[in-house]
Structures are given as structure tokens and as C-alpha cells.
Amino acid sequence: MAVTGAVMVLFLVLHMLGNLKIFLGKDSFNEYAHALRTLLEPLLPYRTVLTVLEVVLVASVVLHMWAAISLSRRAGKARPVKYVAKKSQAAGYTTHIMRWGGVTIALFVVWHLLDLTFGVVNPKGFDSAPADRMIAGFEPSRWWVTLIYIVAVVMVGLHLRHGVWSAVQTLGWANSTRNKVLRLSAGLLSAVLVIGFLAPPLAITFGVVK
């Protein structure tokens, strides 16, 4: 769980940095998208590195989901009879955010891939330049798309606010002296991700980037 989560977090950081390139102009962004596909060329054929990364990523997602599902099932088995009254004493929404939030994120990613990677649901279609797809996707009239992204990214933020600290705890590196710092870092990282991810679509929707 922790390892697969960490891989995904790493991806997200890179992904966010990439997305921010939109602010440097369409070309810069297109170059980046192109570079992703031609990394280490001509050593390796077109898209090799990206494919490897994708495979690792997909494996992580699958393993992560598998772990999440088996944990939930074990939890269900460990408590076959539910409480009539149950009141949380800690950050009680954590479990729900992790489980349902995770599912929401997964659904989003599917849609997101259809939208921006394969262009299936994107007005510009598959053959367009990535930057165009992106700008078209978030144009003001499609404010609801932006809204979906906002919800999704906030979910990701919440998931990671707990998830990042949780991964450190799971790997046994946390302790109470470090915890304050760790919790803060997790929060900070999540906040940076949320802001970083939301900046481009919002900028597009509000017409800052065209």
C-alpha cells in the first residue's frame, strides 16, 4: 500500500510540474508532452520510457486497489456485527475519505484518461496537440468539466493528506517527535498538489491562459 501509494505520489508531483508548464506557453507544454514520448530516443524506440512508466503506474494502481480492497474485506470480516451507535474519537472521516475517496479518484482517472490522453470525450479529439486538448477541455463553457476536476483534485488532496503520513507510519519511520513535522509535510504536499493541479484548469476556464 505504502509503496504503491508512494509511486503514485511521485507520479503526481511530476505530473503537476508538467501541467504547470502550460503557464510557460503552449509550446513549452507540447514540447514536454512530446519529450515524454521521446525520452532516451534514439536509444529506445518512441514511447518506451513513457510506456515503462505507465506500466509501473498501472501496476501500482492495480496493486494499490487490490490492497485497499483486501484491507476493507478483512476489516469487514473482523467486524461482522456493526455497532448500533458508533462515534469516532479521532479524525473520523479518514476511513471514508480513504476508501470512498479512493474510489472516486479511480473513476476520475478513467474519465480523465478518456478526456486528455485518448481524447475520446475531448472536443478536440485524439489527433490534436496536447495543449489544445487541454485548453479546449477546460474552456469556460465546459465549466462542469472544471468542476469535476476540482472535486477530484480535492479528493486527491484529502487522500494524500492522510496517505502520505500514513505511508511513513506504515514503513515505520514515524514517531511522535517527528509526527508534527510529518503531518505538516503531508498537509503541505497535499496543498501544493491541489493548488498546482488546479491552477491550469482554473486559469483556462477563467481565460488567463488561452
Binding site: A78, V81, Y83, V84, T94, S166, T170
Partner: protein, 246 residues
């Protein structure tokens, strides 16, 4: 004070069980929670009803025998307090209180609020000890222990084995209990030789008993009457990972 209690009643393991409502009157705010139940039970006996079975012994917060989920919280809402040390002055007159047993598959209900926690003993059997037969010990001063380590080990060792952590955990995990013992022994020089094998054996036993996994939600430490911190779980995880890497 007058109270309405909704109590889980279950005559035995094969009974399905149900919530039953009782009224108790003239409760003194100075009573402990268990004394309030005693008063109700005395009345039930005289009425020819079966009194509510619940576990308890020391009634001073140290034996770990008592435990019920009160208004949805293991040991009730007062922090760092066992059920036997909870006093009625913390409840409002006229309140309705729900009382349920610990709920976890590895803690089957024996009767009413009494559950079987022998799974905890089996986790200790798996390795929660230092192998030192009586009479074979060196002089107590032959190995100095840093005060900080001794104090931290003590903090973990205060776990009373009540099971509230399991009752509160959304996953029904026994991680805090298991980690408390692993931490206690792994912080002391005496516990080093068996440190990794102990962590592995105890965690594997915990899983074998059917407890859930830990997803670090922290409900356990919030209800733990001894305030065992989540650090313990991190330490257990570290030892467990190391043991598996070997």
C-alpha cells in the same frame, strides 16, 4: 439522576442478541458506571430477570477486564479512562445511554457485554516475552538501561490488554495492543536478541486470529485508557518489515 439505558442483551454465543431498554432512577453522580449497572442488576435480580453480564475485576483501571462501548465510544467519551473509572457525573440527567460489547470477530460475545479476548493471550504466546528461565538471570545492574529507554518502554508496557483499541478500530485491528508489547520489549536491551523474530511471530499471530489490518486511522489511541501512542505501531511495522527482509 434518571437515565435510560439501551443495553445489548445476548444470552449466549448462539443467540442473535438485541438492544433492550431499561430505566434507572436515583443515580448518584458519584457512582462509577459499573456501580450504576450494579444498582440496575440488583433490581433485575429481585424482579427475577437475568442481570446484565459484564466483565470487571479491579475496578480501578488497571486489570483491563472491564470494557463496553458507551454511546458509540469504547470505554465512554472521557479520555484515558476505563469503564470502571468512568463516573456518572459526566452524564446529563435524563440522558439515554447505549451500551454495547466490544465488536470484533476474534472477540466473540460470550454473554451480554462479556466477550472472549483469549486471542490476545495467543498473540503474547507467539512471542511477547523474553526467554529467561527463573534463576538464570544475571545481576540486575549488569546491564544499565538509559532512563529515556526505560521510561519509553514503561509507557508502552502500561497497556492493560483491555481490547478497546480493537473495539474502536474501524478495521477491527489489534495493532495497538500488539505494538505496545513489541515496543515495550524492543526498547530494552533485554529484548534485543528476540526482537525481530518476536515482531514477526506476533504480527503473524495477530493476522491469523482474524483481526483487521491497520490503515492508520488512529481511533485506537484515542480511546486507549493508557494513551498508548501510534508510535508503537510504527515501531512494530519497522521491526516487522526488517524481520521479513531477512
Amino acid at each position: 439522576m434518571n437515565l435510560t439505558l439501551k443495553v445489548w442483551r445476548q444470552s449466549g454465543p448462539s443467540d442473535k442478541g438485541r438492544m433492550v431498554t431499561y430505566k434507572v432512577e436515583d443515580v448518584s453522580p458519584d457512582m462509577s458506571f459499573l456501580e450504576m449497572l450494579d444498582v440496575l442488576n440488583e433490581r433485575l435480580i429481585l424482579e427475577g430477570d437475568d442481570p446484565i453480564a459484564f466483565d470487571h475485576d479491579c475496578r480501578e483501571g488497571i486489570c483491563g477486564m472491564c470494557g463496553m462501548v458507551i454511546n458509540g465510544v469504547a470505554h465512554g467519551e472521557q479520555r484515558a479512562t476505563t469503564t470502571c473509572q468512568l463516573h456518572m457525573r459526566h452524564f446529563e440527567d435524563g440522558a439515554t445511554i447505549t451500551i454495547e460489547p466490544w465488536r470484533a470477530a476474534p472477540f466473540p460475545v460470550v454473554k451480554d457485554l462479556v466477550v472472549d479476548r483469549s486471542a490476545f493471550d495467543r498473540i503474547i504466546q507467539a512471542g511477547g516475552f523474553v526467554s529467561v528461565p527463573a534463576g538464570s538471570a544475571p545481576d540486575a545492574h549488569s546491564i544499565p538501561v538509559r532512563k529515556e529507554d526505560a521510561d519509553a518502554a514503561f509507557d508502552a508496557a502500561t497497556c492493560i490488554g483491555c481490547g478497546a483499541c480493537v473495539a474502536a478500530c474501524p478495521n477491527g485491528s489489534a495493532s495497538l495492543f500488539t505494538a505496545a508489547k513489541i515496543t515495550h520489549l524492543s526498547l530494552l536491551p533485554q529484548g534485543q536478541p528476540e526482537r525481530l523474530s518476536r515482531a514477526k511471530a506476533m504480527v503473524d499471530q495477530m493476522d491469523a486470529e482474524g483481526f483487521g489490518g491497520c490503515t492508520n486511522t488512529g481511533e485506537c489511541t484515542a480511546v486507549c485508557p493508557k494513551g498508548i501512542p501510534l508510535d508503537a505501531i510504527a515501531r512494530m511495522n519497522a521491526d516487522y518489515l526488517k524481520a521479513n527482509a531477512k
